[in-house]
Amino acid sequence: MATMLKSPPKKKSLKKIRAAKSPLDFFGWAKIISATPEEVEVAWNDLKRRNLVSARQGKVDISAEAMVRARSDVQRRLASHLSGYELTENSYIVRYAGPPPPGLPMILNTRIYVEYIANYFRGGWGVADIQRDLPQLKPEQIEAAIQYYLNHREEIERDIQRSIEIYEENLQRQQRMGTWEKLMKR
């Protein structure tokens, strides 16, 4: 009886396995940030050498400092993409990236929105006063937010108005639910 010999399963090349497991998608990132894959690889390697990015267990980790310490425009765009931010024309002001609607402009790495700083500024506060209130901010970050407000006054005024409306809606909702009374009974 003829014995059917099964051919051993083909081994995937190590290169392919590595490529499949690697979270480094230089081609994909290049397309998103409008650079070449080679430029992206160079940018990645320099950020990695300075411990600002790493790839472990199929996941990319990026330091909060990466965007500030980026040495080139490609590095900055790559760091921004990997951090989940969208850049604006001002290097300290970003938005959360993602499908529309766009995120609101905020100071990089702080979750402090331009509208908060605009509120201080509209109230006549100077940079030093604002910094006393929000000591984690550097003067240049506050100045950047004020500059952004002055250049996009209509947009930020709209954001402020929207926040006021949300606050009032929530206040009415809490009043209807009797939240305060419930808390006081605890």
Binding site: G103, M106, Q136
Partner: protein
């Protein structure tokens, strides 16, 4: 902590964590009144800049998170809170 503060804390029902958009002076004033207050800005940047990490931290420390982030479609604590409850987590 002085005796007055201790006595006051015994009758307060919530420990607080102020998000980073709140004034340091406000947090200090409330703390001076005897409330148990921490601030987001005291935590590492990785926590400060991430809504979810901040909420996790507040829950871990059993604190109420005081925030103004509810108007950005991409970073909205009203939405995050609903997601939190839907996933079966409590606080």
């Amino acid at each position: 902590m002085g005796k007055a503060h201790e006595a006051l804390n015994n009758r307060l029902f919530a420990k607080l964590m102020f998000d980073c958009m709140f004034s340091a002076e406000l947090a200090q004033s409330i703390s001076d009144e005897g409330f148990d207050v921490t601030e987001a800005r005291q935590h590492p940047l990785e926590i400060q800049r991430n809504d979810y990490a901040l909420l996790e931290k507040a829950v871990l420390e059993r604190r109420a998170l005081i925030t103004c982030n509810c108007s950005d479609p991409k970073s909205n604590f009203c939405v995050i809170h609903d997601e939190w409850l839907r996933s079966g987590k409590t606080h």
